[in-house]
Symmetry: C2
Subunit: 353 residues, 2 copies
């Protein structure tokens, strides 16, 4: 059996017993029941994922998957294609937002080249290039189906490696100039919704370019007719390599019962693909922020995820996800370190109130 | 001149030049302009507050002001009054949510007794008791005007002491069983809005008790007729000592040009009082989370504050504020540590896009 199928088969539902125990403990801690809101919910979810009430999620890694997009030739992005490898170099040198934020929360940054168009020589980048960028999907499929599967399996392997190295909290990050175009295209194809309201400005294109971006997406879907009931077909025809890599990372995290924090729009599309392939995946996902990209809310809705951070971010890289990792760690510490009413000798809520 | 007036007179508008310089630097950093959203806005605000583009906000302290409320005799709270000193002891012992979250973000917790009903002996609590709890404001004013001023001045003094000790980021926290009742009463009095839609369940009272809580507030306002144009009159008649202490803390922070992160509903009411006394205060405030208490959104709207965290919290203690302190620190690090396009040799946005 191949790696993808093996990973998908090994994903199980969350541990309901551990979740009930975590909920019970939360209600004994010195605070009104439920008053820590999402922090309590996350601690219960972590219990369901790991199978224990008390969990350490301090070994945190954000995986930044990088890839290029042939469709950038259509003029859909505000930045030129060479920025993808330039930003990969910036990640390696520690000067990008994801580096600063990861240092701040104590997370490791792992950069994976799944499909940058040019060679990346740097040793500290994990070299797993499936192909040198996708094809321009207005003219032909972005990649072959086998390449899409390979991107997914790359993500699974990266997840497994990280977990084997002791990582207990993963986050998704992306780098790929132009990647809001394939992401929006995937969203349109998978949901069947119109491009208006789902397609946004990415790194900041103007009105005319936005209309053009919508047309590019509509034309590509008309030409290639991706099958909405086959997420891998959609990924192959109008997707991206880093999007596939991230979907695989999420599948791998779920297979190994490790929580994975989902960044913004691009990561959200990857999460949607993972969940369409196996709907048990969403139990392992923790939403971070709600992006400015208009399609993001629809994704969160379908996945039933509530983003903690409302910070008008639209960077990608995993920037929102690493900030949310700090919140997940806080949730794990709350259930571990807070005193109970009995321990602290505190009067409980009055009956009938 | 008294301390309150001196502090109010020394508050100045934000430094527009420093803010323009910070904005300019943000646009040179290796990300699409504006793509870090609120993190960028905070870095600009910090520049305006401190007067420098690069700022260290790593010396973080949350001030938890504790006080009791005579109106608890009316049965407005789900928890008995003795929980206030019990929770103060929990803070001292490090077992409360605020302790866990403050350790997580590296903030110090300072607990101030501004008006707990019973004596607090613990040395690690700053003893600044203005009076032993407020009076039951359904029957008589919660406190004298001089006591309200003393509570405000206590907060100012605490802010000054902290700043003198090197603290460069403050946060507000509260502890006081029953304090959503005076807070809601203040909000109703200051805004003239009806109780419906502004008064919430606090630590978790049922429907019948919620109606009773609204009646208590309406009766108190009818009896005492607080002057909505005189925030100190409102604070004295239907307020609380910890609420006054927190309003003073905010005034003190603004007077000393130190950013102050505002927690949830109780702290929000304190921020509203501070800002009604001197509308320059709001420039120094950073919103943290949006509370479940229904009146909180109205406060944020009047202050023009955007909460970063949407986590369904309703605990108080400063729990949301310390989590947001981590975000403020992240914002300060972004503008300090990120590489510029020139430094990283990265192509900028294409013209006309």
């Amino acid at each position: 059996m191949d790696l993808l199928q093996e990973a998908l088969n090994s994903i199980t539902p969350l541990d309901e017993k551990a979740m009930a125990k975590a909920k019970e403990r939360q209600d004994q801690l010195t605070k009104p029941a439920g008053s820590l809101g999402v922090l309590e919910e996350i601690s219960v979810q972590l219990a369901g994922i790991v199978g224990n009430v008390i969990n350490d999620v301090g070994n945190k890694t954000v995986i930044v998957m990088a890839g290029d997009h042939g469709v950038v030739d259509e003029g859909v992005s505000a930045f030129p294609k060479e920025v993808t490898p330039q930003m990969v170099a910036n990640f390696v040198n520690g000067g990008a937002a994801i580096n600063v934020l990861s240092r701040h929360v104590g997370a490791k940054v792992v950069v994976v080249d799944v499909g940058v168009a040019v060679p990346i020589e740097d040793e500290s980048v994990i070299s797993r290039k499936v192909r040198s960028g996708t094809a321009n999907f207005v003219k032909e499929p972005a990649m072959l189906r086998e390449e899409a599967v390979k991107a997914l399996e790359t993500g699974i392997e990266i997840a497994y490696q990280q977990v084997d190295d002791g990582v207990n909290l993963l986050a998704t990050g992306d780098m790929g100039i132009g990647n809001t175009t394939p992401s929006s295209a995937i969203l349109v194809a998978l949901t069947g919704r119109p491009v208006d309201g789902l397609v946004g400005r990415g790194t900041g294109i103007g009105n005319g370019d936005l209309d053009h971006k919508k047309k590019v997406i509509t034309d590509a879907i008309d030409l290639l007719k991706p099958n909405k009931n086959d997420p891998i077909d959609v990924l192959a025809k109008i997707g991206g390599l880093e999007i596939g890599g991230l979907a695989g990372l999420i599948i791998g995290a779920a297979a190994r019962r490790v929580p994975v924090v989902i960044d913004g729009f691009i990561s959200g599309v990857a999460a949607l693909i993972a969940n369409r392939i196996n709907p048990l995946c969403k139990g392992y996902m923790i939403a971070s922020h709600v992006s400015v990209e208009p399609g993001h809310r629809l994704i969160l809705e379908e996945l039933g995820l509530k983003p903690m951070l409302h910070m008008d971010m639209r960077l990608g890289e995993g920037a929102g996800a690493v900030l949310a990792m700090g919140m997940v760690e806080a949730a794990a510490k709350i259930i571990k370190e807070m005193a109970t009413f009995t321990e602290a000798n505190i009067s409980e809520k009055e009956e009938g109130k």
